[in-house]
């Protein structure tokens, strides 16, 4: 018998696509609508900053699932439409144009947008050579614009900035990278890895500057092109293109205006439920308490989006399937594959396994005898095992952890 229940998913990124399909696989019998404001099928974003500069990507080659899969799952995919507001009391989703939609269950998977620099606000809105990177359209604009031999100034030494610096340097551009903090990747890794990554970029010809703050973007007479990046210490960097990679801002506008609690992220419980029955949220736009770390987290990562989407889909189907995953992240730069498991905040000891000079090593972050996090550089096996050490909260002997002659597997309990 057909169900009269209607699930509406706002946001067709990684979390939205997973949530819609998992809800169906989990037994949802009603209708499902997946609404995205971009014109494309839901697509993988990570390749945009990794191979997107040198390799033409289209929405089909990046598609998370084929178009036919949504049809098979009975999911109505509504692309290129922006939700104007959500009325939780009347259980309705309103668009800027066209008829509204009613729902019985609602999911916010609205993701985030590139954070802006104050200096951007003074620019003409049509400025041609200032870029951010979040969408396929952003990546296409960069790929079409960047020409070998040109000067690219990257503002921000996080994953996006570093991956783009690597891609542009490999592509033959002259790259300067400016980071305001005293070192690169300060939000996500410790000094050992940051120093290593800095050296890798310098060896590739990138001019890496840390502890330097941008306070202005100078334009030519037309106001359509930025020519110089100006810093508070008086240094000036001429640029053909500027890429700003200074983090992500969760897109919580719709949820906040609808009246849901937002605290730098839509607040959800372990099963990704908001305080309103039938309303869930998942992905970069959420804030969730982590039992593993004993604090609330807002994570910007694909694995987290997918894990939360599965939890949210279960909630929609009336089941409890809390998100207990270990946060993890990955970044590809040149020949370096960096994989991070866990979060290192609060560590009181570092253990380095292998030597940075060999370009394959792992840094473990410990609190007492418990591993909180690990950064694995070109060491996928260490990463996989670190994930287990973290999730199972296994006590480890730091001396054995550091001893590269002992297989890491021997630290795990025998099966």
């Amino acid at each position: 018998m057909p169900s009269s229940e209607m699930l509406v998913v706002i946001g067709a990124g990684q979390a939205g696509a997973e949530l819609a399909v998992q809800a169906r696989e989990g037994g949802w019998a009603g209708t499902i609508a997946l609404i995205g404001d971009e014109p494309h099928l839901p697509y993988h974003r990570p390749p945009l900053s990794k191979s997107g500069l040198t390799q033409a990507h289209d929405a089909d080659s990046l598609a998370i699932k084929a178009r036919a899969t949504y049809a098979k799952a009975g999911i109505e995919l509504i692309t290129g439409r922006k939700v104007a507001h959500v009325d939780l009391a009347r259980t309705a989703v309103h668009f800027h144009d066209g008829p509204s939609m009613r729902y019985t269950h609602l999911a916010f998977t609205t993701g985030g947008r590139a954070r802006r620099l104050p200096a951007q606000d003074e620019l003409h809105s049509d400025v041609e050579n200032v870029h951010t990177l979040r969408t396929l359209a952003d990546a296409e604009r960069l790929r079409a614009g960047l020409v070998p031999g040109q000067r690219l100034v990257v503002i921000g030494g996080g994953f996006i900035g570093l991956e783009m610096a690597a891609a542009a340097a490999t592509h033959g551009l002259n790259v300067v990278l400016l980071e305001a903090a005293p070192r690169l990747l300060s939000r996500v890794t410790g000094a050992t890895v940051a120093d290593f990554i800095t050296q890798v970029h310098r060896d590739a010809g990138v001019d890496v500057r840390t502890g330097i703050t941008v306070d202005g973007l100078e334009t030519d007479a037309s106001d359509r092109r930025v020519t110089t990046v100006c810093c508070t210490n008086g240094e000036r960097f001429d640029a053909d293109h500027v890429l700003i990679g200074v983090g992500l801002e969760p897109d919580t506008t719709l949820a906040r205006r609808a009246g849901l609690p937002v605290d730098d992220g839509i607040v959800v419980d372990a099963c990704c439920r908001t305080i309103v029955p039938g309303v869930v949220a998942a992905g970069d736009c959420t804030r969730q308490h982590s039992a593993l770390y004993g604090r609330s987290l807002r994570l910007e990562s694909v694995p987290n989006a997918v894990e939360q989407a599965r939890a949210a889909a279960a909630s929609v189907n009336g089941l409890d399937r809390p998100n207990t995953g270990v946060p993890w992240f990955w970044s590809d730069q040149y020949d370096i594959k960096l994989k991070t498991a866990g979060l290192s905040q609060g560590h009181d000891r570092l253990v380095v396994r292998g030597r940075p000079a060999s370009r394959a090593f792992t840094v473990f972050y410990l609190q007492g005898d418990r591993v909180l996090a690990a950064d694995a550089v070109n060491r996928p096996a260490d990463f996989m095992l670190a994930k287990r050490l973290i999730s199972e909260r296994l006590a480890v002997d730091p001396a054995r952890l550091a001893d590269d002659a002992q297989p890491l597997k021997t630290l795990l309990p025998s099966p």
Binding site: H44, P46, K65, A73, V302, D332, P380, A381, M384
Partner: protein
């Protein structure tokens, strides 16, 4: 279109059409085969698209590269015929390929 047979741990069998050039993982995801998670989207970073290649096919696929071998070593319940389905691209030569899925990916 080349066909793939994917057999879940509980014996449920899926006949999957897999376009040449598409990874085995993507074909399984597009066909909504439960038991392939592919959390990293095919970057050889998570080992949640782990499968066992049927014995008579094992020697007919290209060998895994060192990164895949290292990931497989740490996957759940690895066997000599383990592969990551995101690292193998379908081709007409693999028409009829049979994959078995592990009990769990994580």
């Amino acid at each position: 279109m080349p066909q793939l047979t994917i057999i879940q741990f509980d014996g449920t069998t899926h006949q999957v059409e897999a376009e040449s050039g598409k990874t085995l993982m993507q074909a399984a995801i597009d066909a909504m085969v439960p038991g392939i998670l592919a959390d990293c989207g095919g970057a050889c970073s998570c080992a949640t698209c782990h499968c066992y290649v049927a014995e008579d096919w094992a020697g007919r696929l290209p060998m895994p590269d060192p990164a895949e071998v290292e990931m497989l070593d740490c996957a759940k319940d690895p066997r000599p015929n383990s592969r990551l389905s995101c690292q193998i691209r379908m081709s007409a030569a693999y028409d009829g390929l049979v994959l078995h899925l592990p009990e769990s990916q994580i």
